[in-house]
Symmetry: C2
Subunit: 208 residues, 2 copies
């Protein structure tokens, strides 16, 4: 019997790169806030952005607020795992903190739009991609209506975007319904996915 | 916008065939008893066997107790999804109840030895295979010692078998450590795997 009787038989202890994405307006930010409050021992990636800081937002917690010049320098130095321009502002994921967390064996959660998730899927095939949806498009519409931040035209554009985003679901690993009155359940489902992924026999490739 | 705004955006509602296997002596039966007590809305497959009924065992709950002739008839009529001979007794999984549960959309849990799990993997590639292990081989040995049902020779054979069984883990999807003092955690992990699998974007093929 060549196997050491004291060596662990459990699944390989490999960290996960979890990408949290979903329909625009589905409530990704709220889910992230609640996930941060939960007991998950996870590193939450903080994005860099060129947009102005809103009241209540904290540097290094909500975003790293940088100038357009600084952002361009980060792109040029290949310091961003992924970046995109959204409504004229730039958003990007600094690569170093994500890589460092994974190197020390910690799971990482990255919040990102659908387009960005597609980039991560290409760059890091072993990432775990979660797609948040409302239960129906009707619910998405009523949620956007409640925010009252969009004009009717913007709202219609948002819904059209959502329908396009739904065409991208096949590149994701998991789809999770975020019911507006059951966010606890959304959090529990995401935690269940993390638990299950930690038990996978074949670890995913996480070269970043 | 061609998509119906009231149609559900969640994952495809497909049932799962969950195969619970693991090292002999790891405590599969105890885990199954606790799973049955939990709130999982799952159909638990009951095996047919030619072995004698032990005191406390219930026909149709623990096993279907059948004669050797009847078992052979079931094999000949292709009524068993899988069958094996273990220590001179035959054990098999009746196909019809499993198929019926899946057809009505219910998840199914099947408890089976490692050899049988390999057969299911071939016959039903879309099955979800879970492999239960002790944390170490040392723990397996001390667990077998506590049962006091094996002679030293039998115990050594069991451990050799376990080492062989460990070589088959790569055909499984998940590996779950069943710590003897933390069975609650084992149950929660299995439930998390079920929850996660229900959220998978690409449903698995379950032709039985």
């Amino acid at each position: 019997m060549s196997r050491d009787r004291r060596s662990t038989l459990g699944p390989p202890a490999k960290p996960l790169l979890i990408v949290l994405s979903g329909l625009s307006g589905v409530g990704k930010d709220t889910v992230l806030v609640d996930l941060k409050k939960s007991s998950l021992p996870v590193f939450f990636s903080v994005s860099a952005t060129t947009r102005a800081r809103r009241s209540g937002e904290k540097e290094g917690a909500d975003y790293y607020f940088v100038s357009t010049e600084k952002f361009q320098q980060m792109i040029d130095a290949d310091e961003l795992l992924e970046w995109a321009t959204v409504y004229g502002n730039r958003y990007g994921i600094p690569r170093a903190p994500v890589r460092q967390a994974i190197e020390r064996g910690q799971d990482v959660i990255v919040k990102i739009d659908v387009q960005g998730a597609a980039t991560i899927r290409k760059k890091v095939p072993g990432a775990v991609l979660i797609f948040l949806v409302t239960s129906t498009l009707d619910e998405l519409e009523s949620r956007l209506n409640k925010r009252r931040t969009e004009s009717p035209e913007e709202l219609e554009l948002r819904l059209k975007t959502a329908v396009k985003e739904l065409d991208s679901t096949s590149m994701f690993d998991y789809i999770v319904v975020n019911r507006h009155d059951e966010i606890r359940r959304t959090i529990d489902t995401i935690k269940a996915i993390v638990t299950a992924e930690k038990c996978r026999i074949l670890p995913r490739d996480l070269s970043i």
